[in-house]
Subunit: 362 residues, 2 copies
């Protein structure tokens, strides 16, 4: 049987956790996994699933330095640095070529660095199920999360017929649907045959190479040339090939055009920790529905306050008195207060901070 | 003419500025005077009015150390430490006896450490007017602030006939009225003949000694004995006399029972900086009526936010996004968020903090 490798995609930035997240300290660096840094929790979650030496991180050069500092024990040669940001397809090609050098038939798990997934045994169970499907017949496997509400922030996967009687349940993936509007999302949820796209994939090296070629000739060719260049240890060539690869996403260029795609139903608690109110799922609550995610000695005191979300780092106490449904963030050099209902719009505030010339806070 | 001395009463503690104020750092230590520490602003406000060597601070032992640290250039022998907290009457007696040693006929200005009063020339003008009245005929002089609304948090002074045609206007003080209920306060304001008691006094040493004896035989005797003990340099005696003096307020034991009291109308902007919303008067506002008092490199960013009050110290930025009418406080180890309308109830929160065992924050 082929070896199992895991590729953690750690290139994301984003502004939804400002001022906790910054350009050099994106969301995956935040202790949002019940006090543990997300990427560390992602690494830890893989322990026992694949060999320690088979865990890779793909990131950009801006974050690589912080990453090495954050994870001093993680081997540097397994941190793959993208020459530039070119969306997820070239990133996956680079990871595929890197792993192909060690095992051209390897099975790969590709997963975001910044999700919270629990419990670990169920996570392993669903990945093993996917690895088996992927190894059997060169199928690309995704994971679908049963929708709890008509979310418009996720892509959806339309399920086809169930593959077999095994658990967790797996289906042929009939169609990928981009983030829908509310009416469409409501239809999807009512229909019942749709799952949220979790952004986690499992496939073999041959399968993803074939699917890249099928989806985009240029992408497939780039991947083939990356395999050769990496096998030959030609770094400058790798850089040039990468920079000329099509700038596109793996969802669009590969998954939506693939012929054999399966979706395994996620039997885990999955949270993509999209914005501060996610702390209601990944934080600690009190009797008045105030939720907090505290690290580094931080504390929360709430009196006559309900439904608030607190994120704090370091030796500081956040005291709430008579307030409701707010997000309160306190980190070293910044404090944020905004209504919970507007936490998804933080980008607007970050743009305002930039316009105000306070790039030191970004 | 007798010399003019100023006595700054710096014994107050209180919880209305928590978490900025703490047990060892009461309100008068906060930079609430447009970024300047209140007691420093009070000292500076006296420059040019009386000799530098004639400014005194009376405080308690708990605050004396912090005070010496905060004001390294202020001579230690002019910081008078109360042996224990016994309300304002023994405190005034101690200050009177201390000054009497230098000039038994001195004129004294007694004023709180933690008010904001502007502009300084007008302040000097009203004090000089009071000093003249006080020196002329042993009258105790207070200052009354024209009410802008029926405040229930201040005492009121009922004005009698106007003394003379001089400016600022001075009246015989007919009666002192404790903090009234709203109906009474509304009557006072409608009547027009009432002024807020500013807590600032001017009198001569002989006048206040006579008034103490008249108001309370025990208090007058204590003051006489303090004068003797201090003149003789007998420290332990001073302590014993002080500790046996009646524990009462100068308003109740002296002012309300005095025969000759005048009130000078305050021709200044006076703010007792009673709680965080006072920052609307003593801080800096923006176009959306957000007011801030920032020190030590702190900054405020407000977007789509109105009517908030921000207090921040140190190199931290407070960002408000989509919030209204909140108080947001950010200091080294604590952040507070509460509605502006409830800022006067902070005592409740502080009691909760104490009950939660977080005495480190008090």
């Amino acid at each position: 049987m082929s070896s199992l490798h895991a590729v953690i995609m750690a290139g994301g930035s984003g502004t939804r956790f400002w001022p906790a997240s910054r350009a050099t300290r994106p969301k995956q660096f935040l202790p949002l996994a019940r006090g543990k840094v997300l990427i560390q929790a992602t690494i830890d979650r893989l322990a026992g699933l694949c060999d320690e030496g088979h865990v890779w991180i793909v990131t950009n050069s801006a974050q690589a330095r912080s990453l090495r500092k954050l994870l001093p024990d993680f081997p540097r040669d397994r941190i793959v640095v993208e020459p530039e940001a070119r969306d997820t397809a070239p990133c996956v090609a680079l990871a595929t070529a890197t792993i192909a050098k060690l095992d051209p038939n390897a099975t790969m798990v590709v997963l975001p660095a910044d999700h919270v997934i629990e419990p670990i045994p169920a996570f392993h169970r669903m990945l093993k199920r996917a690895a088996k499907i992927a190894a059997d017949d060169e199928t690309l496997v995704t994971f679908g999360v049963k929708p709890t509400h008509p979310a418009t922030g996720y892509g959806y996967i339309e399920c086809g017929p169930r593959r077999d009687g095994d658990e967790p349940r797996a289906f042929a993936a009939k169609r990928f649907r981009e983030k829908p509007d509310l009416a469409t999302a409501t239809q999807f949820v009512a229909n019942g045959g749709f799952l949220w796209n979790s952004g986690i994939f499992v496939w073999t090296v041959p399968a993803i190479r074939r699917a890249m070629s099928r989806g985009s000739e240029a992408l497939g060719a780039a991947c083939d040339r990356l395999v050769e260049a990496i096998a030959a240890g030609k770094r400058t060539q790798v850089k040039r090939i990468f920079e000329q690869a099509p700038k596109t996403s793996v969802d669009y260029a590969v998954m939506e055009k693939a012929d054999k795609v399966a979706v395994v139903e996620a039997v885990v608690n999955w949270d993509d920790v999209g914005s501060f109110p996610a702390i209601e799922s990944v934080g600690t609550g009190d009797d008045e529905n105030n939720f907090a995610l505290l690290s580094g000695g931080a504390a929360k005191i709430a009196l006559q306050s309900r439904g608030n979300v607190v994120y704090a780092e370091g030796k500081r106490t956040v005291a709430l008195f008579g307030v409701e449904d707010l997000v309160v963030v306190a980190v070293g050099d910044a404090v944020l207060v905004c209504p919970k209902a507007r936490a998804g719009e933080l980008k607007t505030l970050v743009e305002h901070v930039r316009a105000a010339g306070r790039t030191d806070l970004l």
